[in-house]
């Protein structure tokens, strides 16, 4: 072996070549200048975002600030984490090598695993949150998305991946139990289950917001089901294993379904068939979810997942190219009147102040607790070398964050009057263009529209027509707004004629991601529920752990679907608007899951004796705890009707009491609505001032919903607090003892070679050739996936990953 002063070779046996190369090459002058330049450009972009105002703000600054910050953070901060905490050993065998079974444990090419991991973590979340957050202005959102990602989100993903990788790929719940005891573990698992259920329900509400009364959208998303079934059958019986070919066929069919949607929308009879109300869509989604979770994986879930992966990478790339080419001018203010607290009316898109509610509205993209379930699930069992976890864990999250930045740019480049007309609930906009224009010009956004409500109404109508929808008023949930923005940005391809296609294309892929999350989520939920039930110390319950016991599996599936289905129905029938009331719960639950994961990480770091570096996961943890606990306290205890679930509940209970008393009750006025039902309006004192109006059905719905939301908020918060307190207790013990044993698996020498980072160095290429020769000499075929594809892999262009 050639000795080199610039590289150390890690050797575990005399019988085969070295298993890894440690790069000792000093940072070149060129690289130093390069990073200096990137730093300067990034700082300039940030300064422009922070201080430039009005017409001078351009989407380009956001893209440059994001890419520059990620590059610097990946090169320096992630490296620091690697050097001080993760301390990867590339001569240590990873679970993939040690337990290789060709199935779930399998050393997988790092570039492929990166794609895998990204496809598993990214979905509709980073596309939706930033759109809603636009209400506050762009500045706080962009800071939270980018800085939150590099200091919290990426740190969580990377470090959970590391923990799980050193523990045979154990799940988050198991690791909490192993490292923090049974109490912590129990609350951890309950928390994870409840969080998954609310997450699925809210994603369902998002997609119903986009599909309700949109025959084009409903048709194209309905088509994904027969397309997936066809792909499943094709793969099973005609071309087993040809997933690439099958996916291409599926994508072509899907694009055709989006095109064909226009004909459906234009046909008077067919458009009626595909025009569904939110409640009908909710039932359709529930039936679909139950069926998809019970049908065989090969028939529906797996092919849909292929489609989803394909579309995910494809459309995100299209959006990125669109944003970079169009470089749209920004129309939103840096801080809106709700952002700086000068507004006189309550925030219409989501309730509450910038702090803490912005930081839970943007969850995916900045910090997403759900990722910890992926970083401790499939991915850690596939990693070839410990150093590769930096690009997969930390880097994968950076790409998701970038998706969120692009979604933000898309939303803030829209006309802001249009934005609020689309995103405020129908209770405010009245649901029609003229009433929406009246309302949106009265709230004080400023600009020329305010003096011209009639002109705005015509503009809103034209906007709906431009994407072939009958109306875009109060299409809440973020997905329609993003779709509209994408149609604007992508109109450089195909012009105005294509806008309708792009809009429905965007709606379709968001729905596709969400449906994939719903059926995969229901299955995971069922799996965790059977596991939890099987662990109960009651006779006969063990049977739930037996995967071949179908009745048990169906029962658990039914319970899970009933769980998210009832919340979904509750959301779509909520008189206050499902997104407005439930999105905070989604954000809080996702961030609380992150708090659990970061508590685990911080505790283990302290147990390992790295107290000095515990601040790295603790920054994210403490910030996240402050945000989520403040938000939970507001949601649970606030006396303000628009913010606190309980305050809302009390207002409606008192209104109902007054309504039952009849017309003479104090503060009550009774009118009749168009349908002839009594509408009760009540003004009075609940926990604070109350102002309620609705039919008896409305009152009952809100009373029930707010009670459930209140209970769920309390359950989440308690679960997380228990886990956190247990974490603190264990950490204090560890600090006193100067460290405690952890459940990491003992080191085993590696006998497998793979490059340390995304790209091979010169030495690594030479070593790979050495391994190939060694194996040929020993009569072994190429051992690794890497080597068997060596020749092909050589041809992979270097542009294939994020910047190193």
């Amino acid at each position: 072996m050639s000795a080199s002063s610039q590289a150390d070779y890690l050797t575990t046996s005399k019988n085969h070549p070295a298993v890894a190369v440690v790069n000792r090459r000093p940072v070149s002058r060129k690289a130093k200048i390069g990073f200096g330049a990137i730093g300067l450009i990034t700082a300039t972009a940030w300064a422009l975002i922070a201080f430039a105002r009005g017409e001078h703000v351009n989407g380009a600054y956001f893209v440059i600030a994001a890419v520059g910050t990620y590059t610097i953070a990946f090169r320096f901060y992630a490296k620091l984490i690697e050097a001080k905490i993760v301390r990867p050993k590339n001569d240590r065998a990873t679970p993939a090598e040690l337990y290789e079974n060709g199935r779930d444990f399998q050393p997988t090419d790092r570039r492929v695993l990166f794609g895998h991991h990204f496809a598993a973590i990214a979905g509709a979340g980073p596309l939706v949150g930033p759109v809603l957050a636009t209400q506050m202005g762009y500045l706080p959102s962009v800071i939270w998305i980018i800085i939150g990602c590099v200091l919290a989100g990426s740190v969580q993903d990377y470090m959970v991946l590391w923990l799980s990788n050193r523990r045979k790929g154990r799940s988050l719940g198991q690791m909490i139990r192993d490292e923090m005891g049974t109490v912590g573990g129990l609350f951890g698992i309950i928390g994870i289950l409840v969080i998954m259920i609310i997450l699925i329900a809210v994603l369902g509400i998002v997609i119903i917001g986009a599909l309700a009364s949109s025959p084009w959208g409903v048709f194209s998303i309905a088509c994904t089901i027969p397309i997936a079934l066809f792909m499943g059958l094709y793969l099973r019986f005609i071309r087993p294993g040809k997933v690439g070919e099958t996916s291409v066929i599926g994508v072509v069919l899907l694009l055709f379904a989006v095109v064909a949607g226009r004909w459906i929308a234009e046909s008077p009879t067919l458009s009626d068939v595909f025009t569904l109300t939110p409640v009908q869509l909710a039932w359709a989604l529930i039936l679909y979810g139950a069926a998809a979770a019970i049908l065989p994986v090969w028939l529906l879930l797996a092919p849909r997942d292929y489609l989803s992966t394909f579309m995910k990478v494809g459309t995100i790339a299209v959006l990125a190219v669109g944003v970079v080419i169009a470089l749209p001018q920004v129309n939103a203010p840096a801080l809106s009147m709700w952002g700086n607290g000068t507004a006189t009316i309550p925030a219409p898109v989501f309730a509450g102040k910038l702090f803490p509610f912005l930081f839970i509205t943007i969850a995916c993209g900045a910090l997403s607790g759900f990722h910890s379930l992926i970083s401790s699930g499939t991915t850690p069992k596939l990693v070839e070398k410990e150093t590769q976890m930096r690009v997969i864990g930390y880097g994968g999250m950076m790409i998701e964050s970038f998706v969120a930045v692009m979604a933000l740019v898309t939303a803030i480049s829209l006309d802001q009057h249009l934005y609020f007309a689309m995103n405020a609930p129908a209770a405010l906009t009245g649901g029609a263009a003229d009433t929406a224009a009246q309302w949106v010009t009265s709230i004080g956004l400023g600009g020329t529209w305010d003096a011209d409500p009639t002109g705005l109404a015509a503009y809103l109508d034209a906007a709906a027509k431009s994407v072939d929808e009958t109306s875009i008023i109060s299409r809440t949930g973020g997905a329609p707004t993003l779709a509209f923005g994408m149609a604007e940005i992508l109109s450089f391809m195909g012009g105005d004629a294509m806008k309708g296609f792009w809009y429905h294309f965007a709606v379709m892929f968001e729905a596709l991601f969400i449906l994939t999350t719903i059926d995969a989520g229901t299955r995971v939920c069922r799996f965790m529920l059977s596991d939890a039930l099987g662990n109960l110390p009651i006779r006969g319950m063990r049977r739930f752990k037996d995967p071949s016991w179908n009745i048990g599996a169906w029962l658990c599936t039914l319970l899970c679907v009933a769980g998210w289905g009832s919340i979904l129905l509750m959301g779509v029938t909520d008189p206050l608007g499902g997104i407005y009331t439930l999105y905070p719960l989604f954000g809080i639950s996702n961030q609380l899951l992150a708090a659990m994961a970061l508590t685990l990480v911080t505790t283990v770091v302290i147990k390992k004796g790295y107290l000095k570096w515990a601040w790295i996961p603790a920054i994210g943890l403490l910030w996240d705890l402050v945000v989520t606990m403040t938000a939970s306290v507001y949601k649970i205890f606030s006396g303000q009707q628009s913010i606190g679930y309980w305050a809302q509940h009390v207002c409606y209970v008192k209104t109902k009491a007054a309504a039952l008393q009849g017309a003479g009750a104090e503060g009550l006025t009774v009118t009749q609505n168009a349908a002839g039902a009594d509408v009760f309006a009540w003004q009075g004192e609940g926990m604070g001032a109350c102002s309620v109006s609705g039919t008896m059905d409305n009152l009952n719905a809100v009373i029930r919903n707010t009670a459930i939301q209140e209970i769920m908020s309390v359950v989440f918060a308690v679960c997380v607090l228990v886990v956190f307190v247990v974490g603190v207790v264990v950490s204090v013990k560890a600090i006193r003892a100067g460290g405690l044993p952890v459940t990491e698996e003992p080191d085993q020498p590696s006998h497998y070679f793979a490059p340390a980072g995304l790209f091979s160095t010169k030495e690594e290429k030479a070593l790979a050739a050495e391994w190939a020769a060694y194996k040929a000499a020993h009569g072994e075929g190429p051992e690794t996936f890497e080597e068997s594809l060596l020749e092909l892999a050589e041809g992979i262009p270097d542009e294939m990953g994020p910047l190193e």
């Binding site: 779930d104 979340g125 087993p240 996702n590």
Partner: protein, 69 residues
Amino acid sequence: MSLSAIVGRASRAWRAVVWYAQSVLGEHDYDAYVAHLRRHHPDQPVPTVREYWRERYARESREPAARCC
């Protein structure tokens, strides 16, 4: 650069893209599994592509993997 060199590069780049897309979707997993069996369990029968994918989907149904938001 000569024309044939350009064509050669383009075809290699195209093959790399196809290789990558197929790998992310799992098209090469069967080969990896067969290689694994030959190396570590030479006595065991090698499943056909069809058998492999049937078993794989059955396993994915027993141990579902999460997809995030």
